[in-house]
């Protein structure tokens, strides 16, 4: 807000709160925290389901795995687990790297390696599940 004479003039239509929201001192918003929390809520039932599924797969043959993961519900839950797990993982390890890796350069390299590895592992898992279910 700047005043010319005694008439106040508003230079921006955005309030200070509006400008600050989602862009604080960290130059990032609450998106990271929010995604971390939502994926963790999703992972509570999904990981309990995963443990039950893995108990069922003890000593299983490859055909047992195909039968299990080609029915729609287990396949969808497995894909959801993979996406939520790797998203949650890269968000969590990102914070650890930001806390403990000093120096802008090595921090950036570590973060890029982390994100790249998580994307590749997630794609490997997703493609494997889809191949098990659809194209043997």
């Amino acid at each position: 807000m700047a005043s010319s004479g005694d008439t106040p003039r508003v230079d921006t239509l955005r309030s200070p709160l509006g400008r600050a929201r989602g862009l604080g001192a960290a130059r990032a918003g609450s998106g990271h925290w929010w995604a971390q929390n939502l994926t963790s809520i999703a992972l509570v039932p999904l990981s309990l389901w995963f443990i039950c599924g893995m108990i069922r797969m003890i000593g299983a043959s490859r055909q047992d795995v195909v039968t299990w993961l080609s029915s729609p519900l287990p396949m969808v839950l497995m894909l959801a687990l993979i996406v939520a797990t790797f998203h949650h993982l890269q968000l969590g390890v990102q914070v650890v790297i930001e806390d403990y890796v000093p120096g802008q350069g090595s921090r950036l390299v570590s973060l890029l390696l982390l994100k790249g590895a998580c994307i590749l592992l997630a794609l490997l898992c997703i493609v494997s599940v889809l191949r098990l279910a659809f194209g043997m």
Binding site: V44, I58, L69, C125, S128, V129
Partner: protein, 143 residues
């Protein structure tokens, strides 16, 4: 007194007598508070589970690849090293899960009082321990 830095540790008491300032104990001399220990455990279990995703990936890729690849991963998982890994990751997952549920409650501003988190400290430890034992018993019975 030979080191100049020691001079900073000397002061006068109210009688004007020169005394050595008291020094707080070294950080490692303090007892670890359980809540702090569990906080660190949450991070370490999270990182360990990240390593565990490699095993999950190996299992899924092997199942999608060939009979021999799947036989290899099943052979590893039934070896003593594989069983040790599975037992360890079972506890790791439960510990991170229950500790994480407590973090979700904290984020919703529940259970932040000292009396409350002292109880939930032990609740998290007991829940993850009990679930690990039950899972391992079921696992070995099924096997």
């Amino acid at each position: 007194m030979t080191d100049a830095r020691d001079a900073l540790m000397v002061a006068r008491n109210t009688d004007g007598k020169l005394v050595r300032r008291p020094l707080s104990p070294h950080a490692m001399d303090y007892r670890w508070p359980l809540a702090g220990l569990l906080s660190g455990t949450h991070r370490i279990t999270g990182l360990a589970l990240g390593v565990g995703t490699l095993l999950m990936t190996w299992w899924l890729v092997a199942a999608a690849s060939s009979d021999s690849a799947f036989a290899a991963v099943q052979w590893f998982l039934s070896s003593w090293l594989g069983i040790l890994c599975l037992c360890g990751w079972t506890w790791t997952l439960y510990q991170h899960l229950f500790s994480g549920i407590r973090h979700l409650a904290w984020n919703a501003v529940y259970g932040f009082e000292k009396a409350e988190y002292r109880v939930t400290n032990w609740a998290v430890i007991a829940a993850s321990g009990a679930c690990t034992v039950i899972t391992l018993i079921v696992g070995f019975v099924v096997w």
